[in-house]
Symmetry: C2
Subunit: 230 residues, 2 copies
Amino acid sequence: MRKAVILLSGGMDSSTVLYIAKSEGFELHAVSFDYGQRHVRELECAKAVAQEAGVKEHIVVRTNMDAWGGSALTDKGIDVPENEPHKDRIPITYVPARNMIFLSFAASYAEAIGSQDIFIGVSEVDYSGYVDCRQEFIDAMESAINAGTVCAVQDGRKIKIHTPLIHMTKAAEIKLGLKLGVDYELTWTCYKGEELACGTCDSCTLRLKAFREAGYEDPIPYQAASRGES
Amino acid sequence: MRKAVILLSGGMDSSTVLYIAKSEGFELHAVSFDYGQRHVRELECAKAVAQEAGVKEHIVVRTNMDAWGGSALTDKGIDVPENEPHKDRIPITYVPARNMIFLSFAASYAEAIGSQDIFIGVSEVDYSGYVDCRQEFIDAMESAINAGTVCAVQDGRKIKIHTPLIHMTKAAEIKLGLKLGVDYELTWTCYKGEELACGTCDSCTLRLKAFREAGYEDPIPYQAASRGES
């Protein structure tokens, strides 16, 4: 059975991608990261989603990526922006080279277990200035992986980075995910780590909009009144 | 003052590279990794070398890269090979995609502090099957970094990976390092983490041979009698 390494954050996108890999018949190996995010809420969701999907193995890589801060997601001194649309600027939630770090670990894991398939839930559709969500970056990273791993260079077993969501709207993603059995109630999207999702941060706003467009109700509870504001 | 990010393991190569960056007038920012190596001896050396060189900042990234083992350097169940020359095969000390992970973190750090220069002590001369020490991989990784960081994509501030040792023999490296003020007594090379270097592992053997060829005595003490054996 072919093995796939899936980058799993516990959010909607990576959870959907996990089920896409599952539907393609892969043995599932999920990797999550505990890197100094503000909260571990999404890690708990990653574990729940992985279990629900029946993964073979779920690895949590711990690292102090917050050693140099520079992002609202890791630097506790910066406030998370609310309802602040970002057009031509980099959102403050940007973690430098985060997907590059994630994909490097995924490549290491893939080589160790003999997998040639890495899945990541990046999208250019909801691209909000995250340069490391673009196909151009993914292609460059795939080249680097295939120049820097023994399996690819010496054994001819090249590694492919799958980006099934790259051109998919979030609404289409939700429709597909529901068909594949994703339980979106287990997923976490809010930038904040409170008991209930805030419903007002950039991330909640995008999620709620996507569910509306898909014609489904978001199964997770939100803080009172916030739902209507988005 | 231009800032440089230097990958510093505490070994000879990275310590030499640190002093090369220093000689080129960079403000020095060193990064070391605590990733489940068998011993922390080389991390202590990295700290000593960084301090001696007068770095501006020294970051230690902690991560459980040993989560999936696959290498004698991280998997405590595998013995370190002794006096076992490796020609056409990958040494068991190989950590999958290690330099890719290191360079990804270096890129993140570089972007966070506004540096455009990463230094790494890889060499093709003493290339022992480590595919991620080849210039071809470094070039691919540099492309990935410049496709995946905001500074490069949006601000036009591209990042360069410097590999000053790529074509240098270890003997030439030692001569250069001594001229630049590297205190090799502070550096650690042995794969094992004992009080004294063993003098017999692959790594010690290469080091001792290099010092002999350079015409200098290795300033670190070795376990009794081992020196003659190599």
